[in-house]
């Protein structure tokens, strides 16, 4: 077992007991990166020298009394976190050479805790996607099965943690982008309450839905990271002044007596992978054994969550992407100018052409699609029918959760309807790709937190069959699909706004009783 496979709490203990140094730990992670990157492509940039230098500088600080458990722990950041002097691209050609002159608030906080930054991880372009296939750097592969996606959009972060290319990572979650890749890669990931963690300096996708959160190897690590990054920020006006608890409290609970768990019937749909359903139901039995009470509930507007999301999200994307005009950020038009008759030109034509070409060349397909949808639904004559309607249904989706939490403490669902799908399987049909988010988007619409924890495995064979039954896979599974590679399955624990401590308590009790989170891919 390599040092890189340690959790934060294990590594922090080892560092303090002088079993190994921060430099050794960092070097181990860099070795893993060197060995695995040709296969996985988790990283868009590896800052090895910087990481080793940071580790060296932190050695003496680690063993001081007041040092953070994150001090000297090597980690990775999704390539949307601005890092002063370190390239940050959002995996888009339009930002491919952007070097931010400042740090995101979360980066600043982690730096003061003693972060060792190994590099930036791959994501769908501007986080628009659920498979890390729309990145201008190429596709990130799932460490459990290289023919499959790692999920997305925080697919690079998830693959890097799962493959022990770092100890933990930060990601962002707008419609499932932390939870779905965590589920696909067998990890623990937290989508926080909207506003719990500052978004300042994190490249925006959809501002009323975007959240920043951790991807890690277990619940205890999630709590350690949250203790450093949560809280109001003067530079992000959407962070409410809600006291930050010690997220480690409650993790020692031996049982879940008195805990009421709701099981929404709308999340157990026909066509979902039978192995996913079985794994989640088995996990619920485990939670019952720990003393929790499980009851069926209803979230009646679940069916509309995805449609609400695919109006509100593109609308906000179209607004946020307006700043990439080739003027404030590079690179501007690269290709040769299209020939146009000079005499027909009016003043201003050149500027218009500059915009059209900068943006036409700079953005990839999925971002263009979202900009187009957003522009269409926000345009005169369509606003009420689409955007305003979606905002009203958003209220109903949010109220579903508020009503449910009058009766139960947490809600449990599968994180995704199926395990990781194959690279290229959903790229031709955007709606099919969007349907992969069906269990995660409503949580962002309501702004509530949700924790993804591993709860089992599926065999590749069964998965292929379930897919072809739903009509979303090939009619006859190919030979490759029949290879027996096991794929992780995730369970989603949802709580009321600012209910993160309860989610972590349930997740921690579950991980004490099971060892799904300890399984490693064979690489």
């Amino acid at each position: 077992m390599s040092l890189a496979s340690l959790t934060i709490h294990e590594a922090a203990e080892g560092l303090r007991a002088k079993k190994f140094s921060a430099v050794e730990l960092t070097a181990y992670c860099l070795e893993r990166i060197k060995k695995l990157e040709p296969k996985l492509k988790s990283y868009t940039l590896v800052t090895g020298e910087l990481a080793l230098q940071q580790a060296r500088e932190l050695e003496s600080r680690i063993r001081s009394q007041e040092s953070s458990p994150l001090c000297g722990i090597p980690m990775a950041l999704k390539d949307v976190f601005c890092t002063s002097g370190v390239r940050t691209t959002a995996c888009s050609n339009i930002l491919k050479n952007f070097v931010p002159p400042y740090d995101a608030t979360t980066v600043k906080k982690l730096k003061s805790a003693g972060m060792v930054l190994l590099g930036k991880t791959n994501t769908d372009e501007f986080t628009c996607g659920g498979s890390t296939e729309t990145s201008c750097f190429g596709v990130t592969r799932n460490p459990w099965d290289l023919e499959r996606v790692a999920g997305g959009s925080s697919g690079g972060s998830a693959a890097a943690v799962a493959a022990d290319e770092c100890i933990y990572a930060l990601g962002t979650d707008t419609g499932g982008s932390i939870r779905q890749p965590s589920a696909f890669c067998g990890l623990t990931g937290l989508k926080v309450t909207y506003g719990r963690v500052s978004r300042f300096g994190v490249i925006s996708m959809a501002s009323s839905l975007d959240t920043v959160g951790p991807i890690a190897k277990d619940v205890q690590d999630i709590a350690l990271i949250m203790n450093e990054i949560a809280g109001a920020d003067a530079y992000d006006s959407t962070t409410p002044q809600v006291a930050v608890p010690n997220y480690l409290e409650g993790l020692d609970a031996k049982d879940l007596k008195g805990m009421k768990i709701g099981l929404p019937k709308e999340y157990f749909i026909p066509g979902m992978d039978p192995e996913v359903e079985k794994a989640v139901r088995t996990a619920l039995e485990e939670l019952k054994k720990l003393g929790a009470e499980v009851k069926e509930i209803s979230l009646p507007h679940t069916k509309y969550g995805l449609a609400v999301y695919y109006i509100i999200c593109p609308s906000e994307v179209s607004a946020n992407m307006a700043r990439y005009d080739g003027i404030r950020y590079g690179p501007g038009p690269l290709k040769e100018s299209r020939s146009k008759k000079q005499e027909s030109r009016k003043a201003g034509d050149e500027l218009m052409e500059y915009y059209l070409r900068s943006r036409g060349e700079g953005f990839g397909d999925e971002v263009k699609r979202r900009i187009m949808i957003g522009t269409y639904v926000l345009s005169a004559g369509y606003y009420d029918a689409y955007y305003l309607k979606a905002q009203k249904v958003r209220t109903l989706v949010k109220q579903d959760f508020e009503k449910a939490f009058e009766d139960v403490d947490v809600i449990i669902t599968p994180t995704t309807p199926t395990p990781a799908f194959k690279v290229g399987q959903n790229t031709a049909d955007p709606v099919k790709m969007y349907l992969e988010d069906v269990f995660t988007v409503s949580i962002n619409i309501a702004g509530v937190p949700a924790l993804a924890v591993p709860c089992g495995f599926s065999s590749g064979e069964r998965t292929a069959r379930a897919r072809s039954e739903r009509g979303s896979g090939s009619a006859s599974p190919s030979d490759a699909e029949l290879t027996k590679k096991v794929l992780p399955i995730g369970m989603q624990i949802i709580g009321p706004q600012f209910g993160e401590p309860t989610l972590l308590k349930v997740g921690s009790a579950f991980q004490k009783a099971t060892d799904w989170h300890k399984k490693k891919p064979k690489l």
Binding site: G195, S237, L306, V308, Y354, G360, K368, I371, L396, Y434
Partner: protein
């Protein structure tokens, strides 16, 4: 509902996206597919329902409008460093763009 080629071109112009003919054709189909899917919302009754624009109920969040001198703890980034993010020529700390009028 199928979007016309003219509608797609109009939206692309509003969004300042220069698209190729092939892209216009592709988006015509794909955007129509997405818009068809979201039509699902028409079956929800929303009379008298207030729209939700943000979820935590914050209103009018203010902070002091202070000038942070370069290099001070409150200064986030140097103005020149921000100007350097632009690919265009800088003249007297301004970005030189193509003629507007």
């Amino acid at each position: 509902m199928k979007l016309t080629k003219q509608q797609v071109e109009h939206v692309a112009m509003l969004a300042r996206l220069g698209l190729s003919e092939a892209e216009i054709e592709k988006f015509q189909t794909q955007l129509s597919g997405i818009l068809d899917y979201v039509e699902l919302l028409n079956e929800v009754k929303t009379d008298g329902i207030q729209p939700t624009a943000q979820v935590t109920g914050l209103t009018n969040v203010m902070r002091a409008d202070e000038v942070a001198s370069p290099g001070s703890a409150k200064s986030l980034a140097d103005a020149d460093a921000l100007l350097d993010c632009s690919p265009l020529l800088k003249v007297e700390r301004q970005i030189k763009v193509k003629s507007v009028f």
